[in-house]
Symmetry: C2
Subunit: 349 residues, 2 copies
């Protein structure tokens, strides 16, 4: 709710992902952190756990505002609304240290530009404030703005230990930066101006259970290997986490109100080409515009996808790519692309 009494909810999430350096003791595991400790962490963020699922490799939490994923040495927190995820960082780092993880290998903090930045709470009242907060914890972090700063954009703060530790010799032999990394990739698709009929599915008055909304929308068919934990909010809104036996995850969050509709899709499934997945997500939710970001710590993977998306630009599509940028970081490559529908006919990329 805004000050003028108008109903509004900021669907745009703040996404925090931290990788810790492998611990010398193989028993150490972030999943040893207790439920009450996580509740304490999340109290700094202003959100709560509302559902959990897990398998041998990953714990997934549906939150009152989005999701949290915990695996052995990686922690992911994605929260929407006016939550304050950066405020839990100090406590999270302490808990990680207590559990044997004292060194942050990589940190990524990212978000799209807020629809209503003025509604946010400190330290999230602007990207500059967020960067200042992160810089006080992570020296030599880097901050980026992809897309057009004065129109639509996506902010990224990244800290990489490899940025500091590599020596010239390691650079020149082409090794070093990735030698102790697991293969990793993340794709996010952030959608706005969604099809009202599709968004209608995610109202409690239409479907009494989240499961029915999941089936009706076709969310269950996007990545069929995923074990789904879904939640339908009252009166509307939807969140789901999916995890599979490989420890991969997917997560979808839906703010269905027409005036400020927003859907986010995220997964770390390993694919050599994301075009089919992007098309399926777009055809499921029917946005008017969307942003795609792909992170990959294998150059070839990101580059193949980049070329792929580039080629598709000129084919008979009704999507106009308004922006595309590619960034090379020390241990990751990043592709950012932004699309707008040139008319309202459903169409493939």
């Amino acid at each position: 709710m805004l000050e003028n009494g108008e109903h509004f909810f900021e669907g745009v999430e703040k996404l925090l992902e931290i990788w810790f350096e492998e611990s010398s003791n193989s028993e150490n595991d972030l999943r040893n952190i207790s439920r009450s400790d996580w509740e304490n962490v999340l109290s700094h963020v202003n959100c709560e756990i509302i559902s959990t699922s897990k398998n041998d490799i990953i714990d997934a939490f549906v939150l009152s505002e989005s999701s949290m994923f915990v695996s052995k040495r990686r922690w992911i927190l994605k929260t929407c609304g006016t939550t304050t995820p950066l405020k839990c960082l100090s406590l999270l780092l302490k808990l990680a240290a207590t559990n044997g993880f004292t060194v942050v290998a990589d940190l990524f903090y990212s978000r799209k530009n807020f629809t209503r930045p003025e509604a946010q709470i400190t330290p999230h009242q602007g990207f500059t404030e967020e960067v200042t907060y992160l810089d006080s914890i992570f020296p030599n972090g880097r901050s980026y703005c992809l897309g057009s700063m004065n129109l639509e954009c996506w902010y990224l703060y990244t800290f990489s230990r490899s940025d500091i530790k590599i020596s010239p010799e390691q650079i020149s032999d082409g090794k070093g930066v990735e030698s102790d990394s697991d293969p990793d990739q993340t794709i996010e698709i952030l959608m706005q101006d969604l099809d009202p009929e599709t968004m209608g599915i995610f109202h409690k008055e239409k479907f009494p259970s989240a499961h029915e909304a999941t089936l009706k929308s076709g969310i269950n068919t996007i990545l069929p290997s995923m074990h789904i934990d879904d939640f339908l909010f009252d009166p509307c809104g939807y969140s789901m986490n999916g995890i599979n036996e490989k420890g991969e995850y997917m997560t979808i969050h839906i703010t269905p109100e027409n005036k400020f509709s927003y859907v986010s899709f995220e997964t770390n499934v390993a694919l050599s080409n994301y075009r089919k997945l992007i098309n399926q997500v777009i055809n499921t939710f029917k946005p008017g515009k969307f942003i795609v970001t792909i992170f990959a710590n294998k150059c070839s993977l990101a580059y193949e996808t980049m070329k792929e998306l580039e080629v598709e630009y000129s084919k008979g599509s009704h999507w106009k790519r308004t922006d595309m940028q590619c960034c090379n970081f020390p241990s990751y490559n990043l592709l950012f692309a932004q699309y707008s529908h040139t008319d309202k006919k459903g169409d493939n990329l």
Copy 2:
């Protein structure tokens, strides 16, 4: 001079480049604008013409703060210090219209982050202010920040008529956006922390004439086809414009003071590979760090260079690439790369 009396000069330039749509009357030419009209334009910028050179295709002006280039339908203004190039835009557009050029096809405004932003004059007191000013003249312009916002970065505002005029049909047949463009490419190399001995050349007490400084430094060998108009400032500082028979240009500006040394190199010579040129510029001036930007309106050209620079990263070089980004705009591709020397040995990229 700063408020505290400390000597300082902002070498970092503001670069404005405007392409007008081809005029229906082939007699129309921006070079028909008179010297006194240009002087009037430049009075809004707070700089003056100190030398001119010309050939059949291009007029080049050395200014008290950097350079101006005028050709048939393209205008380039590059000014350093605390000049205010945006303030001449309205007058420039009026003069262009009087001379038959009423439609801006492409506009680029760019600059590196200032060393001392607080010394700048409105509307240049921050990129946000610059964008607001440009947005008041060019609707649907886009603004970008490449590199790390909290460390070193390069700002770009770009307006492209093709961003507005192309229809979905033009997108889908892969034509339209470039059909009425001339081939065009620009490389800039912005260098800091330069070798003091090399910078020593650009002091009036060492060399009484600019020509001698040009020869001693080897600037004349970088692009030998260029006819050089050079100027040595008192007590120090250097500017040169070079133009060749094809209408191509190069320009170099040097702020030699050790505490804030800065050298910029720019040219639009058509090359399929810029590695040799970059190496020659770097070996001439010996910076501690530098930024390269390459614009090209042929995808293949930008991409070839990008791949080239990427490959060079992992070879036995003492340059560490701290950032690399690639942007696809409607009618141009842009490559941005940032390098730091890992030690002080001179070395090739």
